[in-house]
């Protein structure tokens, strides 16, 4: 049986009824990995033995009647999350062989609920990138089309779930890094409200923007994962102490009384006509499900990329100062003075994109430029945040494309950083405003590449997103469609 193709909810049902064990399910996932991993390259670390031990343990707990909410579920996570028994590279040479002394809070939560952690997934180095091509340990490929990007920075997480190499995964989203690869690989991906999910143990890129979230095969699984990972954590002083609703409960409600806003600025120049067609027809489906649809305006959208590429590198330049070759990570052993050791370790350990962003950030924060760049960007960030506050006075969620185009060929935008930055234009604003956003599969283009729809809502209104996404999923007719890989 192809158990690997099950969703979390389906597998949990089969485990609960005794038709299936976690060991059988995990073995099925591992054999699937054997079949398709050469083609997909989504893993940096695969813990075959550990996974089977955890699966046996999960089966034991279930027999004893103490099964957690994810008991026995094979799940893999982006290599940006600290795992106490597994190396955590963050896609960087500078963290090669780094084994964290503790688990990230979200990993702890997965383990408490009985999840089986299968491995760590490929990503752009320090989550900086939109294609995962900046990964120092191999570039994941889009399961739907060979030679095409899986997106990024959580490209391994999206490819892994799309290829059925795990039942679900976790990623991190600083400017679209969950939603964009989810869209390009045809899976569901959610960036929660800033502060909804603990960042403790998430390797920091830009601390005011980073958020952990799930990538799953369908919306119900996304809601289940959100139930598990959400909540206040005293170890993350920016997490918010607010009760966590049961996200699975509200899915099956229609959309009567819900107003969908369509932001005119998100349908501008450069939008692929096939993407636009899928999104427009998705909006019609939401209307069919009972929603009211109206136009809204987010007038500062065109400034998002500029704001982001100052604020994110500025925060990164500070966060990445910790990689100095002293306490962990790569050290150049030949350097004979301390400063030389810092310089050589960092220069050899970091890749090009990371160096570029550290330099932009350092420049934007340096004496004489702070007001012109960082302060100015932080003021425009306020205007962007206000745009959303105004829009959410008129509608419950805004619906748009996730990316202007479907996936592109590996290497196509690799030499032009700015061109790649501009492809993030539709996802960045959610991070700048701190609001939740998700991507749900809605269609395919003529070449068979997936196209997702983005939904964004006010702070802590994840429920309306999941509810709208579930209704869309019921009508879009793409759920359960699988890429043609690993077929006999």
């Amino acid at each position: 049986m192809d158990y690997f193709s099950l969703t979390l909810c389906e597998a949990l049902q089969q485990l609960a009824s005794g038709e299936l064990t976690s060991v059988q399910l995990t073995e099925s996932v591992l054999s699937r990995i054997d079949t398709v991993e050469d083609r997909v390259s989504s893993f940096i670390t695969l813990d075959r033995e550990g996974a089977l031990i955890q699966a046996e343990k999960a089966d034991g707990l279930r027999r004893e009647g103490i099964a957690g909410r994810l008991c026995g579920m094979p799940i893999s996570v982006k290599d940006v999350l600290c795992t106490s028994n597994m190396q955590t590279t963050c896609g960087s040479r500078i963290l090669e062989n780094f084994v964290p002394p503790y688990d990230a809070t979200v990993i702890e939560k997965l383990k408490e609920e009985g999840a089986v952690i299968v491995g760590k997934l490929a990503m752009d180095e320090f989550a900086m990138g939109s294609t995962s091509e900046n990964c120092a340990y191999g570039v994941p490929e889009n399961p739907w089309k060979q030679g095409y990007v899986a997106g990024g920075s959580s490209g391994g997480s999206a490819a892994c779930v799309a290829a059925d190499e795990s039942l679900a995964s976790l990623g991190s989203d600083t400017g679209g890094s969950i939603r964009q690869p989810a869209s390009l690989c045809g899976v569901v991906g959610m960036k929660p409200t800033y502060g909804r999910v603990s960042r403790y143990g998430l390797v920091a890129f830009a601390s005011s923007l980073d958020q952990v979230g799930p990538l799953t095969k369908d919306v119900a699984d996304c809601a289940l994962m959100m139930n598990v990972i959400s909540g206040y954590d005293r170890r993350d002083s920016t997490s918010i102490n607010k009760p966590v609703p049961d996200y699975t409960e509200i899915l099956h409600t229609g959309l009567e009384g819900v107003t969908v806003g369509v932001p005119v600025e998100y349908f501008g120049e450069g939008l692929d006509p096939e993407v636009e067609k899928v999104v427009r027809s998705g909006i019609d489906m939401l209307r069919d499900a009972g929603a009211r649809v109206r136009e809204v305006s987010l007038p500062h959208t065109e400034y998002c990329v500029a704001v982001y590429y100052l604020i994110a590198p500025a925060e990164a330049s500070s966060n990445l100062a910790r990689y100095d070759g002293v306490r962990y990570g790569y050290r150049d052993m030949k350097a004979d003075s301390l400063v030389d050791m810092y310089r050589k370790s960092r220069s050899h350990g970091f890749g090009d994109e990371v160096k570029r962003r550290i330099l932009i950030g350092t420049y934007a924060l340096s004496a004489g430029y702070y007001d012109a760049y960082y302060k100015k960007a932080s003021q425009v960030r306020t205007l962007i945040k206000n745009d959303f506050a105004e829009a959410f006075g008129q509608c419950d969620l805004v619906v748009s494309p996730v990316t202007p185009t479907p996936a592109w060929k590996i290497g196509d935008k690799a030499d032009d950083p700015l061109a790649l930055y501009l492809s993030d234009i539709l996802t960045i604003s959610a991070n700048l405003a701190g609001i939740p956003g998700l991507s749900v599969p809605a269609g395919f283009n003529r070449e068979g590449l997936p196209i997702g729809i983005q939904m964004q809502a006010a702070h802590f209104n994840e429920e309306v997103l999941l509810r709208a996404a579930w209704n869309l999923e019921q009508r879009a007719g793409v759920k359960g469609r699988k890429p043609a890989i690993g077929l006999p």
Partner: protein, 95 residues
Amino acid sequence: MKITRKEVEHVAILARLELNTEEVARITAQLDNILSYVAKLDELDTEGVAVTTHTQNIANAFREDEAHESLDRKKALANGPQVNGEVFVVPRVIT
């Protein structure tokens, strides 16, 4: 030009990065391109607009000042590239 080679070299010193001549040339061009793009923000009058450094209104996050176990020394040193069992070892700082 928004940024010169000399400025890139200076910023690299601040960021503790070493760049060779070829890298300085390439990165200067790329940074110039990016900074020319972000100059777009100058179109907006932000006089009197408050800055947003954080999207949630969190005041000081205090906790009880209670003693608890901290990370075990052995564990803390386990990832050190050079350690002597008690501390991290670095190249001599004072000669």
